[in-house]
Symmetry: C2
Subunit: 450 residues, 2 copies
Amino acid sequence: MTTRTRRDVPSTALLTDHYELTMLRAALADGTAHHRAVFEVFARRLPEGRRYGVVAGLGRVVEALADLRFDDDQVAWLRATGVVDDRTADHLATYAFTGSIDAYREGEVYFPHSPVLTVRGTFAQCVVLETLILSILNHDSAVASAAARMVTAARGRTLLEMGSRRTHEHAAVAAARAAYIAGFDATSNLDAGFRYAVPTRGTSAHAFTLAHVDEPAAFVSQVATLGAGTSLLVDTYDTAQGIRNAVAAAGTHLGAVRIDSGDLADEARRARALLDSLGATSTRIAVTSDLDEHAIAALADAPVDTYGAGTRLVGGSGHPTAGMVYKLVAIADAPGPHAPLRPVEKTAAGKGSMGGRKIAYRALDDQGGATREIVVRHLPGAPGAGPGRALQTAVVRDGHVVHDPGLAEIRAHHRAAKAELTATDLDLAPGTPRLTADPTDIGNLMGATA
Amino acid sequence: MTTRTRRDVPSTALLTDHYELTMLRAALADGTAHHRAVFEVFARRLPEGRRYGVVAGLGRVVEALADLRFDDDQVAWLRATGVVDDRTADHLATYAFTGSIDAYREGEVYFPHSPVLTVRGTFAQCVVLETLILSILNHDSAVASAAARMVTAARGRTLLEMGSRRTHEHAAVAAARAAYIAGFDATSNLDAGFRYAVPTRGTSAHAFTLAHVDEPAAFVSQVATLGAGTSLLVDTYDTAQGIRNAVAAAGTHLGAVRIDSGDLADEARRARALLDSLGATSTRIAVTSDLDEHAIAALADAPVDTYGAGTRLVGGSGHPTAGMVYKLVAIADAPGPHAPLRPVEKTAAGKGSMGGRKIAYRALDDQGGATREIVVRHLPGAPGAGPGRALQTAVVRDGHVVHDPGLAEIRAHHRAAKAELTATDLDLAPGTPRLTADPTDIGNLMGATA
């Protein structure tokens, strides 16, 4: 099959907004392009009712930057369509990011105004990264933040991510990765397994049952191929009869039954009683069907072993974007590595930003609980020890990646960071963040520190 | 920069759920894999309060199917991780879709239970397409459905899509394409321009102003490079002074000013009065900042020329997925092209499906207004003329693409289909779909026809 559109272009260079390149064009013309600059990523607020957020996507940012090159076709297209002029086209043809990035580790907890990621380099180097970095962090953090709440709700029961069909086909892969970072046990998405080694799971859908002459035939076939430890989907016709057919096909060592419809608490209780009466006492019960953290919490007393979350998870449980922004906070007024940086800030109503490069610490009490998000102006030669746990880590130095942990390490960091939160922070009910790094605090603390 | 994960794999084969391949494995073992089958895509309901939906993504489905091949690395990984056995691995290594697809045209309007897309082929051929097809249609249709409402709200004023930073970096490209299909004028996303020839637009952000010693310097620079017809962002510091600086820099033929904060109706009125008083009577006013169809409609009386929609658009205006499902509706009980098809249906509570392959017509009144969504069982050799406008068109025949229109044709089709709707259908207030093709109707009509 052939199609008319361009495909197979792995470069990430055009996954960006038109205005990044027109700004670059004007900045190359007036020289600002060569002034060193500092941009910061932060969220002015968390989604309504949320008490904390979870950073995800940093590893994908690093990947995307490695693929950020403008190939010949892309440059020619930009020139032909008038997006850029010759000078800008020449600049883009040799673009590679050679600046530095510091960031909250992936899996870290964040709050309003936390300086989640800081980019330093020339204005020309930094300005073209805005859209790509925000797309990745906003999507992945939205999913991870929702996933973390579902993990809390599940109280140690198994959680599977299975929302691929309810989101863009590539967003699905990133969502699986983000959910795993936040503590999900596995995903249905195979590409997430192939690319990121996220554990994958899956057995069968209603179509498999419907494709056979009757349910017993389907179950016998599935068990013959996948073994008695498989999970049988029992609600295609009648759930009780489905469970009887499942145990008849697999025996009492059947791995699990999955229920995808009806009142899940009632269905799970009936299923447990029936399974037990049939001697399948170790057979697990998995439920799926539009689960979010509240639905999962409501099933706490039901005999459910595994939750599958899809639609609501990949949609950030009602908040599909984290709302982070990428703002210039300092710039030099002359080219060269030694020109002094001038803090800059926007004063537009409701969209202000605080000037100057900032770093952040999380103050902890004697029991290791988080007590405060402390944001201070970065000072050259500042002492290494700060007023708490340092939240930013060096990710890229002069274009070289210096921090690229595996998912096991990222998951461990998330668990540790989440363990610093209180029961109030973890409450699923709508609330306001107990910790915040709002500009007023920043100003005061900066004053105290500087 | 180098990273640890696998990239640059253009194949779409693993953008799917684990269970599609375990079902295939069991079906290959028991022979069902070789039975011909019919799967249908439909939505049981529209998002809460929506009166119609817009199909988008079909062109991307065709692209994705062209890239659906299992390469050696993927097959080896599937085998090594135990997702598939040797027989299934051998099958996948030579997989190519050679079946047929019929679908509602891209840009078409749809309702609950409309048979949006039908796939025919062997069970093995069809079952592996479920996740990929749903991911694409659910995402793109959610965005197009929201975009169509914003187009209604804008009443002919210019609409720009600029939500790239608020969604996954590749979803952003698809969202730009979907919004354009539904009538948006342009996008900020460059990759949508490069890949799909969607018109792109963009000038500058607050960072450009902040990067200069003062706002006049930034505006003079932008105008020097982009010309007086550019759009100047005037709300970095003080909007009134920003407008004065803009006209001073560009003259009275300044193209546009953009306002991104504050009460947009008030700001637009003040901006219009000030621009007029400065003689810039033809300078347009663009507003951006979390606009959705309701915010756009509320600005109908304000002197706004251009709306930029981002966050809410790419999130489907509160409904980021269209909720379509992919269901087996008929299968043969023996292999081969002539074995008769048996209609199948699921009877689970609230998740029933109606068996048998169906086709759909839209009945129209004398003025060309839509009066009914008529869904009838497909009968071999059925007459070409139906009870209204035929809604499904042949897209793939025996693995060959036979329908791959350009975006101009798709946009025209959308305009024509939307023109068949009534003011009630287009009302932005929450409501229920006037047209529906619910299973009861289908049953009756099928009875009448068959």
